[in-house]
């Protein structure tokens, strides 16, 4: 089990962000330790994705504080987040459909030759290597990713996050578009990355899946944090009532 007593890998404190009068995230604080999987649960529009996009640099918070390894972090762009070894697998996958897998995997971080030209062959070789590990059935290396199946596209997005030695991984609905077999593969991967000491934020609607994969779950409703619980301490019904009623049954008890 992960050590949750030391300095957290990520601390997000009192995060707020509003879009045109709608308080999308309203004073939420969560943290994440190395080797831990924290699940974020809640209805659509509860603010989970928005909160996580602040960490990945896609949105900028109005107020609040982010600490990485105990030090204050300034994240104003996706590039900043990458510099803190934060990698994100977006719900939309964020792939450029017209480009092939290697181009997508290295997008924004292309390998270049000494002359400064993109080194397509090197990137292809690296892609073949990581794909052989993640998804051995993946063969369409040179095809535009629009020609790939949902699962294959997912593995490109995952490969992109894993390849660059992320310390902090954000997975927004990683299994939503996947079949049974591929979902199992993602679950195995999460266990493997956890064992390697990564901290993972996982967003999903599937409560049962979350209870299997996560160490702790945080539930959000209407932009606010309902509560954070260790999975051993709660039942699926507890979680559901937190999601639906926005009340923490353990506090009430």
């Amino acid at each position: 089990m992960s050590d949750t007593t030391g300095t957290p890998l990520v601390e997000m404190k009192d995060i707020r962000i509003a879009f045109g009068g709608v308080q999308a995230v309203d004073g939420v604080s969560i943290n994440l330790h190395a080797g831990e999987v924290v699940g974020l649960l809640g209805h659509n529009g509860a603010g989970k994705s928005t909160l996580i996009k602040i960490l990945s640099g896609a949105y900028q918070m109005d107020s609040g504080e982010i600490r990485i390894n105990g030090e204050k972090a300034t994240i104003t762009s996706p590039r900043d987040a990458r510099d803190y070894n934060i990698e994100t697998i977006y719900q939309t996958l964020a792939l450029a459909d017209n480009l092939d897998a290697p181009a997508n995997l290295f997008l924004g971080r292309e390998l270049v030759t000494p002359l400064g030209f993109v080194d397509d062959d090197k990137m292809e070789a690296e892609t073949r290597k990581i794909m052989a590990r993640l998804n051995p059935n993946f063969k369409k290396i040179k095809e535009p990713v629009s020609a790939l199946s949902g699962g294959q596209r997912q593995s490109v997005a995952i490969a992109r996050a894993v390849y660059f030695n992320a310390q902090i991984l954000i997975m927004d609905e990683p299994t939503a578009a996947l079949g049974v077999h591929e979902t199992k593969m993602v679950a195995d991967l999460i266990q493997e990355l956890k064992a390697q000491g990564l901290g993972i934020f996982l967003i999903s609607h599937d409560t049962r899946e979350m209870l299997e994969l996560c160490d702790r779950v945080s539930v959000m409703k209407n932009g606010q944090l309902v509560g954070t619980e260790r999975v051993e301490d709660v039942t699926e019904d507890d979680i559901l009532s937190m999601i639906i009623l926005g009340k923490n049954p353990r506090e009430a008890a």
């Binding site: 990945s56 896609a58 762009s77 996706p78 590039r79 990458r82 994100t88 977006y90 939309t92 996958l93 964020a94 792939l95 450029a96 459909d97 017209n98 480009l99 181009a103 997008l107 924004g108 971080r109 292309e110 270049v112 400064g116 030209f117 993109v118 397509d120 062959d121 090197k122 292809e124 070789a125 073949r128 052989a132 051995p136 063969k139 535009p144 629009s146």
Partner: protein, 431 residues
């Protein structure tokens, strides 16, 4: 490595000749259409259309639009449009012409001074780049749609040029500048063979280097004979083109003037060919540079990624606003380069220079396979598109089709070409 092992044990599926050669069927279709157009016009003009003389003229008439079309590919790939290229060409041309004929002589530089041409050209290119940057800033940072910014620019820059020149035709242009126009600036037979030979050798070398690189990474390569065929095709067409332009003899009157200019008398029975025009070399240079940018640089990768999925590009840490500025700066610079070629070919700057060029340039890019939805397009396609457009226009002129009908046909061809492309994409299942 297990990949390579498994693919060897399973029998490779039967592949057609085209697949083995890895020729883009779309490109093949365009070349086929182009050849068909040439043959039809050649038939109706009793062989005049494919004469060395007409091919020479066709080539130099295409250069200006083709140069801009390569830039338009980047603009359209990033999901923008530039309606102001013809106007921008006119403005850059006005700046260059005024510098040559009025301003620099006014500052004390004598007409014919060797400094005039470089100063005028550099100033023209800088003007194009700066206006392009400004357009890109309005579009990228101020989020005004490119359609509106360049629709405004369409009026602004053409009439800024008019204002600058008071509506007058500006000439004569500097002798050095005229070299960029085509028929005045030619390499002659010997140099054409040297340049043609070098280009042919380069293309063979490029194919060889690409293959060697693939082998080094253990990637599948096409059979050696297929590479040889491609190399032979590339080198053959370059040398054939050189031969064709070399076989177009310079007319006697012009030869006499050329000899007189050097204080010599034209010997009896002396003939020599035109060879490659400098403007065509510029186009080849632009084409190679733009292709390398598109395929081998981060800038090119980001342009295509942004066109494919702007959100994904942004989430990958690409600064898409700055990218927009760069794309429009390239477009502006290429407009200025086209302005140089266009004014040199026409031998003066007139108010109507580059009129309707925006439509020709967009049509060339679109006929060349650049999708208006963004994310896909090729440089060679756009150049071939420009060539097809120019062939149709000048072919109809030679056949004697009435001017209104010519434009009706050109417009219809554009729509027809895009329709064919849609059908092709649907059949092939590409987006």
């Amino acid at each position: 490595m297990s990949d390579a092992a498994t693919s060897k044990t399973t029998a490779p599926p039967r592949r057609s000749l085209m697949q083995t050669l890895e020729i883009d069927t779309r490109l093949l279709g365009m070349i086929g259409a182009f050849l068909a157009i040439c043959l039809v016009f050649n038939f109706y003009t009793d062989g005049r259309f494919l004469s060395a003389r007409n091919i020479f003229n066709l080539t130099i008439q295409t250069v200006s639009v083709a140069i801009m079309a390569t830039g338009m590919v980047f603009v359209i790939v990033t999901r923008h449009i530039d309606l102001s290229v013809g106007a921008l060409l006119a403005f850059c041309s006005a700046i260059m012409a005024m510098l040559q004929a009025r301003w620099l002589p006014g500052l004390g530089l004598e007409l014919g001074s060797p400094l005039i041409a470089p100063l005028a050209i550099v100033a023209g290119l800088a003007t194009g780049a700066i206006i392009g940057c400004f357009n890109g800033w309005l579009i990228g940072y101020q989020a005004i749609p490119a359609f509106i910014v360049t629709l405004g620019g369409f009026l602004v820059w053409r009439f800024a040029a008019w204002y600058l020149t008071s509506g007058q035709t500006i000439g004569p242009l500097d002798q050095t500048v005229l070299l960029f126009g085509g028929s005045e600036g030619i390499l002659g037979e010997t140099w054409s063979w040297i340049v043609g030979g070098l280009l042919a050798a380069l293309s063979v070398l490029a194919i060889y280097a690409a293959r060697r690189n693939k082998v080094r990474h253990d990637f599948p390569v096409k059979p050696a004979w297929a590479e040889a065929v491609m190399a032979a095709l590339a080198a053959g067409s370059i040398l054939g083109f050189t031969w064709l332009l070399n076989s177009y003899d310079i007319p006697r009157g012009k030869l006499r003037r050329m000899f007189e200019a050097q204080g010599q008398e034209l010997p009896d029975g002396f003939t020599t060919g035109h060879g490659l025009p400098i403007s065509v070399l510029i186009l080849i240079g632009v084409a190679i540079t733009m292709t390398v940018v598109a395929r081998k640089t981060r800038l090119g990768r980001y342009i295509f990624a942004t066109g494919g999925n702007p959100d994904a590009a942004e989430l990958s840490g690409i600064n898409t606003r700055k990218l927009t500025v760069k794309v429009f700066a390239i477009m502006g610079t290429l407009c200025a380069l086209s302005a140089l070629v266009a004014q040199a070919r026409l031998q003066n700057h007139a108010n109507d220079i580059g009129t309707l060029d925006e439509l020709r340039v967009i049509a060339a890019a679109v006929i060349g396979g650049t999708a208006l939805s963004g994310g896909s397009g090729t440089i060679y396609g756009a150049i071939l598109g420009a060539l097809i457009m120019q062939s149709i226009t000048s072919g109809m002129g030679m056949v004697g089709v009435d001017a209104p009908l010519q434009n009706i046909v050109v417009g219809s061809v554009l729509v027809f070409a895009v329709w064919i492309d849609q059908v092709y994409r649907k059949r092939m299942g590409v987006k």
